[in-house]
Amino acid sequence: MVHATWMILPPAFTFKLEAHRIVSISLGKIYSARGQRGGLKLHKNLLVSLVLRSARQVYLSEPGCPPEPPPAPAGHPEEEPPPRTAAWAAEEPPPPPQDEAGRDCQGPRPRRCCCGENRGGCAGAPPPPHCPRKRSAGERGQAGSPVKKPRREEEEPPPLPPPPSPPCEQEDMETGNVASLISIFGSSFSGLLSKEPKGRRRPPLDGGEAAAGTAPAEAAAEPGQICCDEPVLRTLNPWSTAIVAF
């Protein structure tokens, strides 16, 4: 059912929605990377985790509760209820004449949600989406910071924004799941791993002529043997694999 309130979304909500959507998509990518042939791609997953981090920060730092989050993440297109997709599409006014990167997204910028379209691949045209711009300098600084430790100490927003209104409650399961994963992610991986990954290994520096055929033993330790509690592992199934990969 489409409520009339959908037509006028405050800008803060659009930021949050976008960020939430990106978080969902990113988690979907990390999840689906597990079964990839050839093993986990470190580069791609690193980039995805950086995007996830930025999106998470925006998501958690923007005020207010998001309205009903967009439909299921990228991995499950068939589960989206068609009426909702239609509702998203219906609310959109014609796209603006220009869609430049530098433009501020304040004001009722129309956005097309491509949740219903082109899930599996790039067939056809991607709709013109919009990514939030001009975040405050403080946010930008945080979003750009790659190191987890400072964030852990300084920024501790509540893991789950309080859901006062009915639309939020319905999606509690999904939001809660995502948010709890994010909060665990935010507190860094060390909470999950009981065994630190092996330290740096390299041939002796002096003389420099040491051979460095990488021993299989190092290869075995490498992408991090995970030994954490079974229940934690179970709830974090997709997530733990990302950690193992790193």
């Binding site: 976008e18 990518k29 042939r37 050839g38 093993g39 791609k41 470190l42 580069h43 791609k44 690193l46 980039l47 950086l50 995007v51 930025s54 999106a55 990228a74 004449p97 220009q98 869609d99 990167a101 530098g102 491509c114 082109n118 691949g121 790039c122 067939a123 045209a125 991607p126 709709p127 013109p128 989406p129 919009h130 990514c131 939030p132 711009r133 975040r135 930008r140 790659p146 190191v147 987890k148 860094s188 991986f189 060390s190 990954p197 740096r200 390299r202 041939p203 520096l205 003389g207 420099g208 002529e209 051979a211 460095a212 055929g213 990488t214 299989p216 190092e218 290869a219 075995a220 790193f246």
Partner: protein, 460 residues
Amino acid sequence: MFLKFSLRSNCFQFSGAGGGNDIQWCFSQVKGAVDDDVAEADIISTVEFNHSGELLATGDKGGRVVIFQQEQENKTQSHSRGEYNVYSTFQSHEPEFDYLKSLEIEEKINKIRWLPQKNAAQFLLSTNDKTIKLWKISERDKRPEGYNLKEEDGRYRDPTTVTTLRVPVFRPMDLMVEASPRRIFANAHTYHINSISINSDYETYLSADDLRINLWHLEITDRSFNIVDIKPANMEELTEVITAAEFHPNSCSTFVYSSSKGTIRLCDMRASALCDRHSKLFEEPEDPSNRSFFSEIISSISDVKFSHSGRYMMTRDYLSVKIWDLNMENRPVETYQVHEYLRSKLCSLYENDCIFDKFECCWNGSDSIVMTGSYNNFFRMFDRNTKRDITLEASRENNKPRTVLKPRKVCASGKRKKDEISVDSLDFNKKILHTAWHPKENIIAVATTNNLYIFQDKMN
């Protein structure tokens, strides 16, 4: 020459008889399956000319290498250069299984690099994610005949039937091209190999994975030296990976490697055994007005190539090509936008994974033009002297030999002119990631998903 100016933008397209330095590109050949249903094993993953340009090697996802050879120029056919025909095909890598990590190792050929020719045989290095192999490609056009103890088909003769002796002689036979693996360089990379580069000393080469770079001697397979290691002690602190590496074309102790953060480091192996500290760091400050969720992804460098002169290097990130002067670290000397109209589509491109596509780039023989690929089977060339650029399409529709390619134009927004393509109609499944330019001539090889196109300039 007739110039048409577009009122909408500053780009212009030129037509008519070529004059001055303008190249008119013509279709020459296309290799590969015609049907649209692409077998995954046929996806081309690397393209490389050898040092003379006579040979053109491609690698694919199925682990095969196909080498094309240019025909000798026919004196009577002065209007076109020799065609490239299949010279040798061999299976370079097979899928493997790492039992220790329960991981399959893909057979996809990530890179091929030719060695300079020293004798009659040709040598190349090919690599997948974990193993590098040195292949010898040799011709056989004679075979010995007239053995005393063997029949011509190889069966052994009964010695008692031999009544006379003769000396075996070499007789001509149909040309046979054989590829044999001469060296296998394995077990040195924990992460996925993204680059190999042969040193100008022609004795050593480097291989780079996400976190380490190793130096090998071409004759020695059981050991390699680790020369760069950016793996942090705590993997949770990982913030960047190595994306490409290359030796300097003239200085045998200098190499560069690019990172996922958009930086390039130049290292000198004379400075220390482990080159973790760079000699130069090339980095351009980010434009804050372009900041988005995806800034980090699009700044990741997907390819780095030295110019033939060694004075410049070129980097490719998702939206642009940058030329750096090795003497200036704080910014590139030239920047060319490949498909700036995609900047507003980054969210969709992230969703459909296109934002992770790794485009390569290449120089022409004289370092005056650079080329790179884009989507919709478009590829772009930038003339560094005239500052002109052109967009061309690799398509079977233009497949009559010596058909001059028509420049293409993408309409970013607003009213679409005739013959322009709007951004929303671009086919993001058709991407050109790999291109190569003949070292001496204006002949280019452009790989679409599973086809290899060869274009030449129009010779009058």
